[in-house]
Assembly symmetry: C3
Homo-oligomer: 211 residues x 3
Amino acid sequence: MDTTAPLFLALDLGGTFAFALNGALTALRVARLDIVGVVTLGMCTALGGGIIRDILLGALPPATFNDWRYLTVAALGSLVAFVFGRGLDRIATSILVLDAAGLSLFAVSGALKGLDLGVGAAQAVILGAITGVGGGTLRDVLIREVPAVLTSGLYAIPALVGAFLVVAGERVGVAEVPTTVVAAVVCFAIRMIGVHYGIDAPGPPGTRRRA
Amino acid sequence: MDTTAPLFLALDLGGTFAFALNGALTALRVARLDIVGVVTLGMCTALGGGIIRDILLGALPPATFNDWRYLTVAALGSLVAFVFGRGLDRIATSILVLDAAGLSLFAVSGALKGLDLGVGAAQAVILGAITGVGGGTLRDVLIREVPAVLTSGLYAIPALVGAFLVVAGERVGVAEVPTTVVAAVVCFAIRMIGVHYGIDAPGPPGTRRRA
Amino acid sequence: MDTTAPLFLALDLGGTFAFALNGALTALRVARLDIVGVVTLGMCTALGGGIIRDILLGALPPATFNDWRYLTVAALGSLVAFVFGRGLDRIATSILVLDAAGLSLFAVSGALKGLDLGVGAAQAVILGAITGVGGGTLRDVLIREVPAVLTSGLYAIPALVGAFLVVAGERVGVAEVPTTVVAAVVCFAIRMIGVHYGIDAPGPPGTRRRA
Protein backbone atom coordinates (compact mmCIF):
# COMPACT_ATOMS: atom_id res chain seq x y z
CA MET A 1 0.00 0.00 0.00
CA ASP A 2 1.26 3.44 -0.86
CA THR A 3 2.10 5.35 2.32
CA THR A 4 0.03 8.28 1.07
CA ALA A 5 -3.10 6.08 0.86
CA PRO A 6 -6.00 7.21 3.11
CA LEU A 7 -5.98 3.91 5.06
CA PHE A 8 -2.28 4.23 5.89
CA LEU A 9 -2.67 7.84 6.95
CA ALA A 10 -5.71 7.01 9.11
CA LEU A 11 -3.78 4.27 10.93
CA ASP A 12 -0.63 6.32 11.34
CA LEU A 13 -2.35 9.55 12.42
CA GLY A 14 -4.67 7.57 14.71
CA GLY A 15 -1.66 6.00 16.40
CA THR A 16 -0.04 9.42 16.68
CA PHE A 17 -3.13 10.87 18.36
CA ALA A 18 -3.50 7.94 20.79
CA PHE A 19 0.15 8.11 21.84
CA ALA A 20 0.02 11.93 22.17
CA LEU A 21 -2.89 11.60 24.63
CA ASN A 22 -1.10 8.72 26.37
CA GLY A 23 2.24 10.52 26.71
CA ALA A 24 0.66 13.74 27.95
CA LEU A 25 -1.55 11.90 30.49
CA THR A 26 1.51 9.97 31.69
CA ALA A 27 3.31 13.29 32.21
CA LEU A 28 0.35 14.60 34.24
CA ARG A 29 0.12 11.48 36.35
CA VAL A 30 3.71 10.45 36.93
CA ALA A 31 5.70 13.60 36.76
CA ARG A 32 3.24 16.50 37.26
CA LEU A 33 5.00 18.56 34.64
CA ASP A 34 3.96 22.02 33.44
CA ILE A 35 2.40 22.58 30.00
CA VAL A 36 5.74 22.49 28.16
CA GLY A 37 6.78 19.24 29.80
CA VAL A 38 3.37 17.67 29.18
CA VAL A 39 3.30 18.65 25.50
CA THR A 40 6.94 17.67 25.01
CA LEU A 41 6.41 14.19 26.48
CA GLY A 42 3.18 13.84 24.49
CA MET A 43 4.93 14.73 21.24
CA CYS A 44 7.97 12.50 21.94
CA THR A 45 5.64 9.56 22.63
CA ALA A 46 3.49 10.31 19.58
CA LEU A 47 6.30 10.86 17.10
CA GLY A 48 9.05 8.61 18.52
CA GLY A 49 7.93 5.31 17.00
CA GLY A 50 7.44 6.70 13.50
CA ILE A 51 10.76 8.57 13.58
CA ILE A 52 12.66 5.41 14.63
CA ARG A 53 10.86 3.49 11.85
CA ASP A 54 11.77 6.05 9.21
CA ILE A 55 15.41 6.23 10.38
CA LEU A 56 15.70 2.42 10.13
CA LEU A 57 14.13 2.51 6.66
CA GLY A 58 16.41 5.36 5.59
CA ALA A 59 13.23 7.28 4.69
CA LEU A 60 14.68 10.65 5.77
CA PRO A 61 13.62 13.27 6.65
CA PRO A 62 10.96 11.30 8.60
CA ALA A 63 7.31 11.65 7.58
CA THR A 64 6.88 13.99 10.55
CA PHE A 65 9.04 16.54 8.79
CA ASN A 66 7.55 16.22 5.32
CA ASP A 67 3.94 16.25 6.46
CA TRP A 68 2.59 18.94 8.80
CA ARG A 69 -0.37 16.73 9.79
CA TYR A 70 1.75 14.59 12.11
CA LEU A 71 3.07 17.56 14.07
CA THR A 72 -0.43 19.05 14.26
CA VAL A 73 -2.12 15.86 15.46
CA ALA A 74 0.64 15.23 18.03
CA ALA A 75 0.46 18.78 19.41
CA LEU A 76 -3.35 18.74 19.45
CA GLY A 77 -3.55 15.41 21.30
CA SER A 78 -1.04 16.62 23.90
CA LEU A 79 -2.94 19.86 24.47
CA VAL A 80 -6.31 18.07 24.77
CA ALA A 81 -4.82 15.79 27.41
CA PHE A 82 -3.28 18.76 29.23
CA VAL A 83 -6.59 20.65 29.39
CA PHE A 84 -8.96 17.76 30.14
CA GLY A 85 -6.63 15.25 31.79
CA ARG A 86 -7.12 16.47 35.34
CA GLY A 87 -10.87 15.87 35.10
CA LEU A 88 -10.44 12.19 34.14
CA ASP A 89 -11.68 9.87 36.85
CA ARG A 90 -9.82 6.87 35.61
CA ILE A 91 -6.63 8.35 34.26
CA ALA A 92 -4.59 5.15 34.81
CA THR A 93 -7.05 3.07 32.78
CA SER A 94 -7.16 5.67 30.02
CA ILE A 95 -3.37 5.62 29.81
CA LEU A 96 -3.33 1.83 29.37
CA VAL A 97 -6.11 1.77 26.76
CA LEU A 98 -4.55 4.59 24.73
CA ASP A 99 -1.16 2.89 24.90
CA ALA A 100 -2.69 -0.35 23.56
CA ALA A 101 -4.43 1.61 20.78
CA GLY A 102 -1.22 3.36 19.74
CA LEU A 103 0.70 0.08 19.92
CA SER A 104 -1.80 -1.64 17.60
CA LEU A 105 -2.11 1.14 15.04
CA PHE A 106 1.65 1.69 14.80
CA ALA A 107 2.48 -2.03 14.64
CA VAL A 108 0.19 -2.25 11.60
CA SER A 109 1.34 0.98 9.95
CA GLY A 110 5.00 0.14 10.57
CA ALA A 111 4.66 -3.26 8.89
CA LEU A 112 2.79 -1.68 5.96
CA LYS A 113 5.45 0.98 5.44
CA GLY A 114 8.20 -1.63 5.60
CA LEU A 115 6.48 -3.73 2.92
CA ASP A 116 5.87 -0.61 0.83
CA LEU A 117 9.57 0.28 0.90
CA GLY A 118 10.53 -3.27 -0.02
CA VAL A 119 12.12 -4.80 3.08
CA GLY A 120 11.78 -8.57 3.58
CA ALA A 121 8.86 -10.23 5.39
CA ALA A 122 10.70 -10.92 8.66
CA GLN A 123 12.09 -7.39 8.66
CA ALA A 124 8.64 -5.90 8.10
CA VAL A 125 7.32 -7.82 11.13
CA ILE A 126 10.20 -6.64 13.34
CA LEU A 127 9.89 -3.10 12.01
CA GLY A 128 6.16 -3.04 12.81
CA ALA A 129 6.87 -4.19 16.35
CA ILE A 130 9.62 -1.58 16.79
CA THR A 131 7.29 1.14 15.50
CA GLY A 132 4.61 -0.01 17.94
CA VAL A 133 6.82 -0.13 21.03
CA GLY A 134 9.18 2.74 20.08
CA GLY A 135 7.19 5.73 21.29
CA GLY A 136 6.33 4.18 24.64
CA THR A 137 9.93 3.10 25.17
CA LEU A 138 11.20 6.63 24.51
CA ARG A 139 8.53 7.96 26.92
CA ASP A 140 9.61 5.55 29.66
CA VAL A 141 13.32 6.31 29.23
CA LEU A 142 12.65 10.07 29.47
CA ILE A 143 10.68 9.73 32.73
CA ARG A 144 13.14 7.13 34.08
CA GLU A 145 10.85 4.09 34.12
CA VAL A 146 12.02 0.68 32.94
CA PRO A 147 10.26 0.41 29.53
CA ALA A 148 7.08 -1.66 29.38
CA VAL A 149 8.59 -3.66 26.51
CA LEU A 150 11.05 -5.16 29.01
CA THR A 151 8.79 -5.66 32.01
CA SER A 152 5.44 -6.53 30.49
CA GLY A 153 5.25 -9.93 28.80
CA LEU A 154 2.33 -9.10 26.59
CA TYR A 155 3.64 -5.87 25.09
CA ALA A 156 6.09 -6.87 22.37
CA ILE A 157 4.13 -10.04 21.55
CA PRO A 158 0.85 -8.39 20.47
CA ALA A 159 2.86 -5.91 18.38
CA LEU A 160 4.68 -8.81 16.68
CA VAL A 161 1.36 -10.64 16.11
CA GLY A 162 -0.30 -7.56 14.61
CA ALA A 163 2.63 -6.90 12.28
CA PHE A 164 2.81 -10.59 11.34
CA LEU A 165 -0.88 -10.65 10.36
CA VAL A 166 -0.36 -7.64 8.08
CA VAL A 167 2.61 -9.27 6.35
CA ALA A 168 0.86 -12.66 6.10
CA GLY A 169 -2.27 -11.02 4.67
CA GLU A 170 -0.22 -9.21 2.07
CA ARG A 171 1.64 -12.41 1.08
CA VAL A 172 -1.59 -14.44 0.85
CA GLY A 173 -3.26 -11.65 -1.10
CA VAL A 174 -6.14 -10.71 1.19
CA ALA A 175 -7.51 -7.21 0.60
CA GLU A 176 -5.75 -4.60 2.69
CA VAL A 177 -8.63 -2.99 4.57
CA PRO A 178 -9.89 -6.18 6.28
CA THR A 179 -6.33 -7.40 6.92
CA THR A 180 -5.22 -4.23 8.67
CA VAL A 181 -8.42 -3.89 10.68
CA VAL A 182 -8.22 -7.51 11.88
CA ALA A 183 -4.49 -7.18 12.66
CA ALA A 184 -5.00 -4.02 14.72
CA VAL A 185 -7.99 -5.46 16.59
CA VAL A 186 -6.15 -8.71 17.41
CA CYS A 187 -3.09 -6.80 18.64
CA PHE A 188 -5.27 -4.51 20.79
CA ALA A 189 -7.25 -7.45 22.19
CA ILE A 190 -4.14 -9.46 23.18
CA ARG A 191 -2.62 -6.42 24.85
CA MET A 192 -5.78 -5.60 26.81
CA ILE A 193 -6.16 -9.25 27.92
CA GLY A 194 -2.57 -9.10 29.16
CA VAL A 195 -3.26 -5.87 31.06
CA HIS A 196 -6.53 -7.14 32.53
CA TYR A 197 -5.20 -10.46 33.81
CA GLY A 198 -1.65 -9.24 34.50
CA ILE A 199 -0.27 -11.99 32.26
CA ASP A 200 3.49 -12.23 31.76
CA ALA A 201 5.40 -14.46 29.41
CA PRO A 202 7.17 -17.46 31.03
CA GLY A 203 10.12 -16.72 33.30
CA PRO A 204 13.47 -18.49 32.96
CA PRO A 205 13.55 -22.26 33.66
CA GLY A 206 13.73 -23.07 37.36
CA THR A 207 12.09 -19.89 38.58
CA ARG A 208 8.69 -19.63 40.13
CA ARG A 209 5.95 -17.45 38.80
CA ARG A 210 6.36 -13.86 39.90
CA ALA A 211 3.57 -12.58 42.14
CA MET B 1 22.76 30.27 4.30
CA ASP B 2 25.23 27.70 3.15
CA THR B 3 26.22 25.45 6.04
CA THR B 4 29.90 25.99 5.15
CA ALA B 5 29.54 29.77 5.64
CA PRO B 6 31.74 31.27 8.40
CA LEU B 7 28.70 32.52 10.39
CA PHE B 8 27.11 29.05 10.45
CA LEU B 9 30.37 27.40 11.49
CA ALA B 10 30.93 30.00 14.23
CA LEU B 11 27.46 29.37 15.68
CA ASP B 12 27.69 25.60 15.39
CA LEU B 13 31.24 25.27 16.74
CA GLY B 14 30.46 27.80 19.50
CA GLY B 15 27.49 25.71 20.58
CA THR B 16 29.65 22.59 20.45
CA PHE B 17 32.29 24.18 22.69
CA ALA B 18 29.71 25.50 25.21
CA PHE B 19 28.00 22.11 25.49
CA ALA B 20 31.35 20.28 25.76
CA LEU B 21 32.29 22.45 28.76
CA ASN B 22 28.78 22.04 30.17
CA GLY B 23 28.67 18.25 29.79
CA ALA B 24 32.14 17.78 31.26
CA LEU B 25 31.41 20.10 34.23
CA THR B 26 28.15 18.22 34.81
CA ALA B 27 30.11 14.98 34.90
CA LEU B 28 32.53 16.45 37.47
CA ARG B 29 29.73 17.83 39.64
CA VAL B 30 27.05 15.15 39.49
CA ALA B 31 28.85 11.94 38.89
CA ARG B 32 32.53 12.53 39.82
CA LEU B 33 33.70 10.48 36.86
CA ASP B 34 37.30 9.90 35.82
CA ILE B 35 38.83 11.57 32.73
CA VAL B 36 37.27 9.12 30.28
CA GLY B 37 33.80 9.54 31.75
CA VAL B 38 34.13 13.32 31.84
CA VAL B 39 35.33 13.57 28.24
CA THR B 40 32.74 11.05 27.05
CA LEU B 41 29.86 12.95 28.66
CA GLY B 42 31.29 16.24 27.36
CA MET B 43 31.47 14.90 23.81
CA CYS B 44 28.01 13.29 23.93
CA THR B 45 26.52 16.59 25.13
CA ALA B 46 28.47 18.61 22.57
CA LEU B 47 27.77 16.41 19.55
CA GLY B 48 24.35 14.94 20.44
CA GLY B 49 22.16 17.80 19.24
CA GLY B 50 23.90 18.16 15.90
CA ILE B 51 23.90 14.42 15.26
CA ILE B 52 20.14 14.17 15.96
CA ARG B 53 19.59 17.17 13.65
CA ASP B 54 21.58 15.61 10.82
CA ILE B 55 19.86 12.23 11.23
CA LEU B 56 16.43 13.90 10.99
CA LEU B 57 17.55 15.83 7.91
CA GLY B 58 19.02 12.69 6.35
CA ALA B 59 22.33 14.60 6.08
CA LEU B 60 24.45 11.51 6.77
CA PRO B 61 27.17 10.96 7.79
CA PRO B 62 26.59 13.82 10.29
CA ALA B 63 28.77 16.95 10.01
CA THR B 64 30.78 15.61 12.96
CA PHE B 65 32.08 12.85 10.74
CA ASN B 66 32.82 14.92 7.67
CA ASP B 67 34.52 17.76 9.50
CA TRP B 68 37.29 17.13 12.02
CA ARG B 69 36.74 20.56 13.62
CA TYR B 70 33.65 19.36 15.51
CA LEU B 71 35.45 16.42 17.10
CA THR B 72 38.44 18.62 17.96
CA VAL B 73 36.36 21.40 19.54
CA ALA B 74 34.26 18.90 21.51
CA ALA B 75 37.33 17.05 22.83
CA LEU B 76 39.14 20.29 23.63
CA GLY B 77 36.20 21.76 25.55
CA SER B 78 35.81 18.55 27.57
CA LEU B 79 39.53 18.47 28.45
CA VAL B 80 39.56 22.15 29.45
CA ALA B 81 36.63 21.54 31.79
CA PHE B 82 38.32 18.43 33.20
CA VAL B 83 41.55 20.28 34.00
CA PHE B 84 40.15 23.59 35.26
CA GLY B 85 36.68 22.53 36.45
CA ARG B 86 37.69 21.70 40.01
CA GLY B 87 39.01 25.24 40.53
CA LEU B 88 35.70 26.85 39.60
CA ASP B 89 34.06 28.55 42.55
CA ARG B 90 30.63 28.66 41.03
CA ILE B 91 30.49 25.47 39.02
CA ALA B 92 26.68 25.21 39.21
CA THR B 93 26.22 28.70 37.76
CA SER B 94 28.78 28.02 35.02
CA ILE B 95 26.89 24.87 34.06
CA LEU B 96 23.61 26.78 33.69
CA VAL B 97 25.12 29.65 31.70
CA LEU B 98 26.98 27.31 29.34
CA ASP B 99 23.85 25.25 28.86
CA ALA B 100 21.89 28.39 27.92
CA ALA B 101 24.66 29.40 25.51
CA GLY B 102 24.71 26.02 23.79
CA LEU B 103 20.90 25.96 23.66
CA SER B 104 20.80 29.36 21.93
CA LEU B 105 23.59 28.75 19.43
CA PHE B 106 22.26 25.32 18.43
CA ALA B 107 18.62 26.48 18.18
CA VAL B 108 19.79 29.09 15.69
CA SER B 109 22.19 26.84 13.76
CA GLY B 110 19.62 24.02 13.65
CA ALA B 111 16.97 26.29 12.14
CA LEU B 112 19.50 27.66 9.63
CA LYS B 113 20.55 24.18 8.52
CA GLY B 114 16.91 23.10 8.18
CA LEU B 115 16.17 26.10 5.94
CA ASP B 116 19.35 25.47 3.96
CA LEU B 117 18.31 21.87 3.26
CA GLY B 118 14.83 23.00 2.24
CA VAL B 119 12.47 21.80 4.98
CA GLY B 120 9.33 23.87 5.61
CA ALA B 121 9.16 26.82 8.01
CA ALA B 122 7.38 25.00 10.85
CA GLN B 123 9.78 22.07 10.49
CA ALA B 124 12.81 24.38 10.62
CA VAL B 125 11.53 25.87 13.89
CA ILE B 126 10.97 22.44 15.44
CA LEU B 127 14.31 21.21 14.13
CA GLY B 128 16.10 24.19 15.66
CA ALA B 129 14.47 23.50 19.02
CA ILE B 130 15.37 19.78 18.84
CA THR B 131 18.98 20.67 17.97
CA GLY B 132 19.10 23.05 20.94
CA VAL B 133 17.65 20.66 23.51
CA GLY B 134 19.07 17.42 22.05
CA GLY B 135 22.55 17.41 23.58
CA GLY B 136 21.34 18.30 27.08
CA THR B 137 18.60 15.67 26.88
CA LEU B 138 21.12 12.96 25.91
CA ARG B 139 23.38 14.14 28.78
CA ASP B 140 20.52 13.91 31.30
CA VAL B 141 19.42 10.45 30.11
CA LEU B 142 23.00 9.13 30.41
CA ILE B 143 23.38 10.36 34.00
CA ARG B 144 19.82 9.31 34.89
CA GLU B 145 18.28 12.73 35.44
CA VAL B 146 14.84 13.64 34.12
CA PRO B 147 15.74 15.90 31.14
CA ALA B 148 15.49 19.67 31.68
CA VAL B 149 13.26 19.90 28.60
CA LEU B 150 10.55 18.07 30.57
CA THR B 151 10.95 19.69 33.98
CA SER B 152 11.96 23.25 33.20
CA GLY B 153 9.23 25.41 31.64
CA LEU B 154 11.58 27.89 30.04
CA TYR B 155 13.87 25.46 28.25
CA ALA B 156 12.02 24.37 25.12
CA ILE B 157 10.29 27.75 24.79
CA PRO B 158 13.42 29.92 24.35
CA ALA B 159 14.76 27.38 21.84
CA LEU B 160 11.49 27.58 19.88
CA VAL B 161 11.56 31.40 20.03
CA GLY B 162 15.17 31.57 18.82
CA ALA B 163 14.50 29.18 15.94
CA PHE B 164 11.29 31.04 15.07
CA LEU B 165 13.11 34.39 14.85
CA VAL B 166 15.66 32.87 12.45
CA VAL B 167 12.94 31.48 10.20
CA ALA B 168 10.86 34.68 10.38
CA GLY B 169 13.91 36.81 9.57
CA GLU B 170 14.70 34.66 6.58
CA ARG B 171 11.10 34.84 5.31
CA VAL B 172 10.92 38.62 5.77
CA GLY B 173 14.30 39.03 4.14
CA VAL B 174 16.35 40.59 6.96
CA ALA B 175 20.12 40.14 6.56
CA GLU B 176 21.38 36.94 8.20
CA VAL B 177 24.01 38.25 10.59
CA PRO B 178 21.73 40.59 12.60
CA THR B 179 18.88 38.02 12.52
CA THR B 180 20.95 35.20 13.93
CA VAL B 181 22.64 37.38 16.55
CA VAL B 182 19.30 38.78 17.76
CA ALA B 183 17.70 35.30 17.76
CA ALA B 184 20.54 33.79 19.81
CA VAL B 185 20.59 36.69 22.28
CA VAL B 186 16.80 36.59 22.78
CA CYS B 187 16.87 32.81 23.32
CA PHE B 188 19.75 33.13 25.81
CA ALA B 189 18.04 36.00 27.66
CA ILE B 190 14.70 34.18 28.04
CA ARG B 191 16.47 31.07 29.30
CA MET B 192 18.54 33.00 31.84
CA ILE B 193 15.48 34.91 33.08
CA GLY B 194 13.75 31.56 33.56
CA VAL B 195 16.74 30.19 35.48
CA HIS B 196 17.10 33.33 37.62
CA TYR B 197 13.48 33.60 38.67
CA GLY B 198 12.74 29.87 38.62
CA ILE B 199 9.87 30.45 36.20
CA ASP B 200 7.86 27.48 34.96
CA ALA B 201 5.19 27.39 32.31
CA PRO B 202 1.59 27.06 33.59
CA GLY B 203 0.63 23.77 35.22
CA PRO B 204 -2.51 21.85 34.25
CA PRO B 205 -5.89 23.51 35.00
CA GLY B 206 -6.95 23.06 38.61
CA THR B 207 -3.47 22.60 40.06
CA ARG B 208 -1.69 25.04 42.30
CA ARG B 209 1.67 26.53 41.52
CA ARG B 210 4.51 24.22 42.42
CA ALA B 211 6.79 25.50 45.15
CA MET C 1 37.77 -4.76 3.36
CA ASP C 2 34.43 -5.37 1.75
CA THR C 3 31.74 -5.62 4.44
CA THR C 4 30.51 -8.83 2.82
CA ALA C 5 33.94 -10.50 3.29
CA PRO C 6 33.91 -13.61 5.51
CA LEU C 7 36.31 -12.02 8.04
CA PHE C 8 34.08 -8.97 8.50
CA LEU C 9 30.97 -11.12 8.88
CA ALA C 10 32.72 -13.37 11.41
CA LEU C 11 33.75 -10.40 13.55
CA ASP C 12 30.39 -8.68 13.29
CA LEU C 13 28.26 -11.79 13.90
CA GLY C 14 30.62 -12.88 16.71
CA GLY C 15 30.15 -9.52 18.41
CA THR C 16 26.38 -9.80 17.90
CA PHE C 17 26.32 -13.24 19.53
CA ALA C 18 28.50 -12.17 22.49
CA PHE C 19 26.35 -9.10 23.19
CA ALA C 20 23.11 -11.10 22.80
CA LEU C 21 24.30 -13.51 25.51
CA ASN C 22 25.54 -10.59 27.61
CA GLY C 23 22.32 -8.56 27.34
CA ALA C 24 20.10 -11.56 28.08
CA LEU C 25 22.21 -12.63 31.08
CA THR C 26 22.13 -9.04 32.36
CA ALA C 27 18.34 -9.12 32.11
CA LEU C 28 18.23 -12.37 34.10
CA ARG C 29 20.58 -11.07 36.77
CA VAL C 30 19.60 -7.46 37.23
CA ALA C 31 15.97 -7.27 36.32
CA ARG C 32 14.65 -10.86 36.46
CA LEU C 33 12.53 -10.31 33.38
CA ASP C 34 10.34 -12.89 31.63
CA ILE C 35 11.32 -14.44 28.29
CA VAL C 36 10.14 -11.46 26.23
CA GLY C 37 12.07 -8.99 28.37
CA VAL C 38 15.19 -11.16 28.32
CA VAL C 39 15.13 -11.64 24.55
CA THR C 40 14.30 -7.97 23.95
CA LEU C 41 17.21 -6.75 26.07
CA GLY C 42 19.49 -9.34 24.46
CA MET C 43 18.54 -8.19 20.96
CA CYS C 44 18.81 -4.48 21.81
CA THR C 45 22.31 -5.06 23.23
CA ALA C 46 23.33 -7.23 20.28
CA LEU C 47 22.00 -5.00 17.52
CA GLY C 48 22.30 -1.54 19.12
CA GLY C 49 25.95 -0.86 18.32
CA GLY C 50 25.71 -1.90 14.67
CA ILE C 51 22.50 0.06 14.14
CA ILE C 52 24.04 3.25 15.59
CA ARG C 53 27.12 2.68 13.37
CA ASP C 54 25.03 2.26 10.23
CA ILE C 55 22.88 5.32 11.04
CA LEU C 56 26.02 7.45 11.48
CA LEU C 57 27.41 6.13 8.19
CA GLY C 58 24.09 6.71 6.43
CA ALA C 59 24.18 3.01 5.46
CA LEU C 60 20.40 2.61 5.76
CA PRO C 61 18.51 0.39 6.22
CA PRO C 62 21.07 -1.00 8.73
CA ALA C 63 22.76 -4.33 7.97
CA THR C 64 20.37 -5.91 10.48
CA PHE C 65 17.52 -5.25 8.11
CA ASN C 66 19.24 -6.32 4.90
CA ASP C 67 20.73 -9.50 6.30
CA TRP C 68 18.62 -12.05 8.19
CA ARG C 69 21.75 -13.56 9.82
CA TYR C 70 22.06 -10.68 12.32
CA LEU C 71 18.49 -11.06 13.57
CA THR C 72 18.88 -14.84 13.76
CA VAL C 73 22.17 -14.74 15.67
CA ALA C 74 20.84 -12.09 18.07
CA ALA C 75 17.64 -14.02 18.78
CA LEU C 76 19.52 -17.32 19.14
CA GLY C 77 22.06 -15.90 21.58
CA SER C 78 19.30 -14.37 23.71
CA LEU C 79 17.34 -17.64 23.81
CA VAL C 80 20.45 -19.67 24.71
CA ALA C 81 21.13 -17.31 27.61
CA PHE C 82 17.49 -17.49 28.72
CA VAL C 83 17.47 -21.30 28.79
CA PHE C 84 20.92 -21.95 30.27
CA GLY C 85 21.57 -18.70 32.15
CA ARG C 86 20.06 -19.83 35.44
CA GLY C 87 22.45 -22.76 35.62
CA LEU C 88 25.55 -20.58 35.35
CA ASP C 89 27.57 -20.57 38.56
CA ARG C 90 29.47 -17.44 37.75
CA ILE C 91 26.94 -15.37 35.86
CA ALA C 92 28.56 -12.03 36.83
CA THR C 93 31.93 -13.11 35.43
CA SER C 94 30.34 -14.44 32.25
CA ILE C 95 28.58 -11.11 31.74
CA LEU C 96 31.87 -9.19 32.01
CA VAL C 97 33.80 -11.53 29.69
CA LEU C 98 31.05 -11.52 27.06
CA ASP C 99 30.82 -7.73 27.26
CA ALA C 100 34.59 -7.45 26.67
CA ALA C 101 34.33 -9.87 23.73
CA GLY C 102 31.49 -7.91 22.11
CA LEU C 103 33.30 -4.63 22.75
CA SER C 104 36.46 -5.90 21.01
CA LEU C 105 34.76 -7.50 18.02
CA PHE C 106 32.52 -4.49 17.37
CA ALA C 107 35.32 -1.93 17.84
CA VAL C 108 37.23 -3.75 15.10
CA SER C 109 34.27 -4.33 12.77
CA GLY C 110 33.07 -0.73 13.24
CA ALA C 111 36.46 0.69 12.26
CA LEU C 112 36.63 -1.67 9.25
CA LYS C 113 33.17 -0.65 8.02
CA GLY C 114 34.03 3.04 8.44
CA LEU C 115 37.19 2.63 6.35
CA ASP C 116 35.26 0.59 3.77
CA LEU C 117 32.69 3.38 3.37
CA GLY C 118 35.43 5.97 3.04
CA VAL C 119 35.32 8.06 6.22
CA GLY C 120 38.61 9.59 7.45
CA ALA C 121 41.06 7.85 9.77
CA ALA C 122 40.09 9.73 12.96
CA GLN C 123 36.42 9.19 12.19
CA ALA C 124 36.93 5.46 11.64
CA VAL C 125 38.58 5.20 15.08
CA ILE C 126 35.74 7.09 16.78
CA LEU C 127 33.15 5.08 14.83
CA GLY C 128 34.75 1.80 15.92
CA ALA C 129 34.67 2.93 19.55
CA ILE C 130 31.01 4.01 19.26
CA THR C 131 30.10 0.67 17.67
CA GLY C 132 31.87 -1.14 20.52
CA VAL C 133 30.29 0.78 23.38
CA GLY C 134 26.90 1.44 21.71
CA GLY C 135 25.07 -1.80 22.51
CA GLY C 136 26.14 -1.85 26.15
CA THR C 137 25.19 1.80 26.57
CA LEU C 138 21.70 1.18 25.16
CA ARG C 139 21.39 -1.84 27.50
CA ASP C 140 22.34 0.23 30.54
CA VAL C 141 19.98 3.09 29.66
CA LEU C 142 17.07 0.65 29.26
CA ILE C 143 17.64 -0.96 32.67
CA ARG C 144 18.41 2.42 34.27
CA GLU C 145 22.09 1.92 35.06
CA VAL C 146 24.66 4.65 34.46
CA PRO C 147 26.44 3.33 31.31
CA ALA C 148 29.79 1.58 31.81
CA VAL C 149 31.33 3.93 29.25
CA LEU C 150 30.91 6.76 31.76
CA THR C 151 31.83 4.99 34.99
CA SER C 152 34.51 2.53 33.95
CA GLY C 153 37.83 4.08 32.94
CA LEU C 154 38.98 1.15 30.85
CA TYR C 155 35.91 0.74 28.67
CA ALA C 156 36.11 3.43 25.99
CA ILE C 157 39.93 3.31 25.96
CA PRO C 158 40.34 -0.35 24.84
CA ALA C 159 37.68 0.23 22.17
CA LEU C 160 39.59 3.28 20.90
CA VAL C 161 42.88 1.30 20.96
CA GLY C 162 41.38 -1.61 19.05
CA ALA C 163 39.86 0.65 16.41
CA PHE C 164 43.11 2.63 16.17
CA LEU C 165 45.14 -0.53 15.52
CA VAL C 166 42.80 -1.51 12.69
CA VAL C 167 43.10 1.91 11.05
CA ALA C 168 46.87 2.07 11.58
CA GLY C 169 47.31 -1.42 10.13
CA GLU C 170 45.30 -0.48 7.07
CA ARG C 171 47.31 2.74 6.56
CA VAL C 172 50.65 0.94 6.99
CA GLY C 173 49.51 -1.85 4.70
CA VAL C 174 49.62 -4.88 7.01
CA ALA C 175 47.43 -7.77 5.89
CA GLU C 176 43.92 -7.57 7.28
CA VAL C 177 43.57 -10.90 9.06
CA PRO C 178 46.54 -10.49 11.44
CA THR C 179 45.72 -6.79 12.00
CA THR C 180 42.13 -7.41 13.02
CA VAL C 181 42.99 -10.40 15.20
CA VAL C 182 45.73 -8.48 17.04
CA ALA C 183 43.48 -5.42 17.42
CA ALA C 184 40.62 -7.46 18.88
CA VAL C 185 42.91 -9.39 21.24
CA VAL C 186 44.62 -6.21 22.49
CA CYS C 187 41.26 -4.52 23.10
CA PHE C 188 39.93 -7.58 24.94
CA ALA C 189 43.12 -7.89 27.04
CA ILE C 190 43.11 -4.21 28.12
CA ARG C 191 39.44 -4.41 29.06
CA MET C 192 39.90 -7.62 31.09
CA ILE C 193 42.96 -6.18 32.89
CA GLY C 194 40.85 -3.14 33.79
CA VAL C 195 38.04 -5.38 35.09
CA HIS C 196 40.42 -7.62 37.03
CA TYR C 197 42.32 -4.85 38.80
CA GLY C 198 39.42 -2.38 38.97
CA ILE C 199 41.53 0.21 37.17
CA ASP C 200 40.03 3.61 36.42
CA ALA C 201 41.48 6.40 34.36
CA PRO C 202 42.84 9.40 36.33
CA GLY C 203 40.31 11.54 38.20
CA PRO C 204 40.23 15.34 37.91
CA PRO C 205 43.25 17.26 39.30
CA GLY C 206 43.09 17.75 43.06
CA THR C 207 40.88 14.72 43.77
CA ARG C 208 41.95 11.59 45.54
CA ARG C 209 41.71 8.14 44.05
CA ARG C 210 38.25 6.68 44.37
CA ALA C 211 38.07 3.56 46.52
